[in-house]
């Protein structure tokens, strides 16, 4: 099981507050401590996948920044094509393209059996709500690449909104799905029709607020 904890935007806001408190501190000119988080993240984005993990305990700044870059996922996929189980949460992918990129990368895992997508965005932080509106989970294209994961047996999707299209013809591209769990705001008749056609389905777990 591999759990991918993509750092949230919330955390990076916390970081910047911390940085403000540290502002008066002077760093030696020949110490990399002098780089701010953004520059540090940029530099470390050129590290290989293994080096990133090895570097996580260099300093708190390294820990904060070493996985900030979205290249992490492509690096992960390139190195671990045999991964069978992925759990994506704490999503900082707050733009649609990144979500497509995310699912494109996941689709390159031919052995993938279990997938948990926690696309629920932490609420409660007002400054974030603006940027979060840009997530267009109604976009039908977002999960299309996942149609290549024919080996999937367990799929969990936790999201506020999702397009009906996400499950169109799902019986054809996920013929082995035994376990399907959906946490969604609303579910439609049409979506249930598609789910009912999943040939291998044994367990269905749906939590939704609205049913129409």
């Amino acid at each position: 099981m591999f759990s991918l904890d993509l750092k949230t935007t919330l955390e990076s806001i916390d970081d910047s507050n911390k940085e403000d408190n540290q502002q008066p501190q002077m760093y030696a000119k020949d110490s990399m401590d002098r780089f701010d988080n953004d520059l540090c993240a940029l530099v470390l984005s050129y590290l290989t996948f293994e080096d990133r993990f090895r570097c996580e305990c260099v300093s708190k700044q390294f820990q904060r920044t070493v996985f900030k870059n979205k290249e992490l996922l492509s690096a992960l996929v390139a190195q671990k094509q045999s991964l069978k189980s992925v759990w994506v949460n704490n999503l900082s992918y707050n733009i649609n393209e990144s979500l497509i990129e995310l699912s494109t990368q996941l689709s390159r895992l031919p052995q993938l059996r279990e997938l948990t997508l926690d696309l629920r965005v932490n609420s409660g932080d007002n400054s974030l709500s603006e940027s979060l509106r840009t997530i267009d989970c109604y976009n039908a294209q977002v999960l299309v690449p996942l149609k290549h994961c024919h080996q999937l047996t367990h799929l969990t999707i936790d999201t506020e909104k999702m397009s009906d299209k996400w499950l169109d013809n799902c019986d054809r591209y996920w013929p082995r799905v035994k376990y399907l769990s959906l946490r969604v705001y609303s579910i439609t008749r049409k979506r249930l029709d598609y789910i009912s056609r999943l040939p291998a389905l044994q367990t269905l777990d749906i939590i939704c607020h609205h049913c129409n």
């Binding site: 110490s31 401590d33 290989t48 996580e56 708190k60």
Partner: protein
């Protein structure tokens, strides 16, 4: 000449770029040193490019130097940066296509860039990278980043700290916890 320069601003034509690079503008470091640089080369810095575009080429060529106020832009760093842009100004423009970007990120540095960035004085190295970042010269920041990452490659946390003079602000317990979390990466599949 100056009239001409304004007229041809923004043209990507190679000859025009070469011609424009004959126009010299002045850049001023945070330490007060003033250095000449070809216009096309200087415009590899998005910061300088935006200034030139808002002030107009005439003003930049004939009047005061462009002031680079960030403390990382020391005399020594600015000299290095000018050396880099004067070597690279006629590089083909960067293609923002995603696959190309991935290739570029993974590409090894050229021999010239390796020699350029391999400076013994680490304070100067960090000045050059921070100054290039401030001046928004993406190509040069990338050279610096690749250089640092190639030095980090395969080293332990402690070796990285010593090399880059990074303060360890973890407690022993915190560090142990991270090691445990990451143990799987070293395990065989």
């Amino acid at each position: 000449m100056a009239d001409n320069a304004d007229h041809i601003d923004g043209d990507d034509n190679e000859d025009v770029r070469a011609q424009q690079n004959l126009i010299k503008i002045k850049l001023k470091s945070s330490e007060g040193g003033i250095y000449e640089c070809g216009l096309t080369a200087a415009k590899m810095s998005d910061l300088v490019k935006n200034m030139v575009e808002s002030l107009g080429t005439d003003a930049v060529v004939t009047t005061e130097p462009i002031i680079l106020g960030n403390e990382a832009v020391t005399d020594a760093a600015l000299k290095k940066i000018i050396e880099w842009v004067e070597f690279h100004w006629d590089d083909p423009p960067v293609d923002h296509d995603f696959e190309d970007e991935k290739d570029r990120r993974n590409e090894e540095l050229s021999h010239w860039d390796k020699q350029f960035i391999d400076v013994d004085d680490q304070a100067l190295l960090f000045d050059v990278i921070a100054a290039a970042n401030y001046m928004d010269i993406k190509g040069l920041v990338e050279v610096g980043a690749k250089h640092i990452c190639s030095k980090i490659r395969g080293k332990s946390c402690q070796e990285v700290r010593e090399m880059l003079k990074i303060t360890n602000d973890f407690t022993a317990e915190e560090e142990d916890a991270i090691h445990k979390e990451n143990a799987w990466i070293y395990a065989k599949d």
